[in-house]
């Protein structure tokens, strides 16, 4: 069974297997972020938004009328381009997803905070200051906190919209390490404009250009032997 599927969404036919990292690459404004946001229905807030085609998770159409968007988003987490922790303590950031589900048991909350922060490789750095404001952390730490916050609700898919583009190289390396480790438990889709990054961390790569998906294949093939000339031109740096 495919984890995520997209059919008829513009010209793209493809499927994303569980426990893989899929990268979306392409020049700015080519629609890769918009495409990513289809998977957790974040485009619903755009008043003129309209979609044809079918996107499904575990075989279920996520744009079906009977789908509860809130439930869907617990299953499909998202990490944004700019770290966006809530203006609350580190602890409260991690447990936010549990709190809105009505979980109050302190033991569960405490355990979740420790597990999620450990999974996000942030625990050692913040374990003594969980009550401090999340905004006091560095950019890279904030981004890992946002990842921890997403992991805390135990999604199966994580969407990442250029998660490292606002970070320095060291923080970026940490995030990439993290993505590599998370792959064993989660299905990850990442938008990046950094081709080296796509090459380093992804199993599959999709190349977008001018609102279309041009090619979708194994990352190795996309970077060494793509079928489309536009893809070849882009990955070899001839345009974009």
């Amino acid at each position: 069974m495919n984890k995520l599927e997209a059919k008829n969404v513009n010209v793209f036919y493809g499927a994303i297997k569980p426990n893989t990292v899929t990268a979306f690459i392409g020049p700015s404004g080519c629609g890769k972020s918009t495409f990513l946001r289809l998977f957790n229905r974040m485009n619903d807030y755009i008043d003129v938004f309209r979609m044809n085609g079918i996107i499904s998770i575990d075989g279920k159409d996520i744009y079906d009328k009977n789908i509860r968007v809130e439930e869907l988003r617990k299953q499909i987490g998202m990490v944004f381009q700019k770290p966006n922790p809530f203006p609350k303590s580190i602890y409260e950031n991690v447990v936010y997803g549990l709190r809105i589900q009505g979980i109050k048991d302190k033991k569960i909350l405490d355990e979740t905070v420790e597990t999620a922060l450990q999974q996000a490789a942030l625990w050692e750095e913040v374990k003594d200051k969980l009550k401090d404001s999340a905004l006091a952390l560095s950019g890279g730490q904030q981004q890992r906190l946002c990842i921890a916050r997403t992991l805390a609700v135990q999604p199966t898919v994580i969407l990442m919209d250029e998660p490292a583009s606002a970070l320095d190289p060291i923080s970026t390396a940490k995030i990439e390490d993290l993505i590599y480790k998370l792959k064993s438990k989660y299905t990850i889709v990442i938008v990046t404009h950094n081709m080296q990054q796509a090459g380093r961390i992804s199993d599959k790569t999709a190349f977008f250009y001018m609102g279309e998906m041009v090619e979708f294949d194994d990352t190795k093939i996309i970077f060494t032997n793509p079928k489309q000339e536009r893809t070849l031109n882009y990955v070899t740096g001839r345009f974009g």
Partner: protein
Amino acid sequence: MNSSQKNRLKDNAFKYFGIGCTLFGLLMLAIFLGNILIEGIGRIDWGFITSFPSRNPGKAGILPALIGTLWIMGLTAIIAIPLGISAGIYLEEYGKKNRLANILEINISNLAGVPSIIYGLLGLEIFGRIMGMGGSLLAGASTLSLLILPIIIVSTREALKAVPTSIKEASFAMGASKWQTVWYQLLPASFGGIVTGVILALSRAIGETAPLIVIGALAYVPFVPSSPADEFSVLPIQIFNWIGRPQKGFAINAASAIIILLLVTFILNGFAMFLRNRWQRKVKW
């Protein structure tokens, strides 16, 4: 003179002009305050605050008007704050952003500029006559609530708009519903702005005279109102009434009452500033 010297001269000229403009307003306010203080401060004592109005200026006091003002403020706050904030939240977060919303938005802003006496006529007709409230505190507070609703709605929307979209998206992406996002993220983050708007609106309500006169607030009230159904007077009406009297003593009384009214307003504003600062230390971007 070359052009860089000319630019510097213009720059300096505007700077001093600006200082002059700023001082002009401040100076006028200082003269007014000084005048009122000199005239009225001597008359303020416990007796002035706890006495009823009287034909004898030396014995007259502001008790019913002061209590009336506090009643009106409280009732107006109870009516207008939940209505205004809820409407603001709906328009900003729930309502679709289409043509109709645009028309609504323009009209709400326009309503904020409608002369207050017109609200008085509206209140007289709807609350006083149709709903049978007469010249009661409730009718007055309802009328003033209408008057300040647009201010509260607009400032609530502005405060919500100022919360970064990234926070909203983060909350939605975690599976929060719209209401949870409003309650856990947007309201706490915009609290300072909303409180400021509410207090400004209430300060305006405190000073209003015309609409209350229209709905039938009394100039002479020989009792302290004890329920929302009672008739009432408020400080601005008392001041207005005293200023119209020929005796010098009443002019002094009016100055003293103005000091008390200003004091109430300042306390309210100070409270707002206190709340805002306390909150801003908790929420910073």
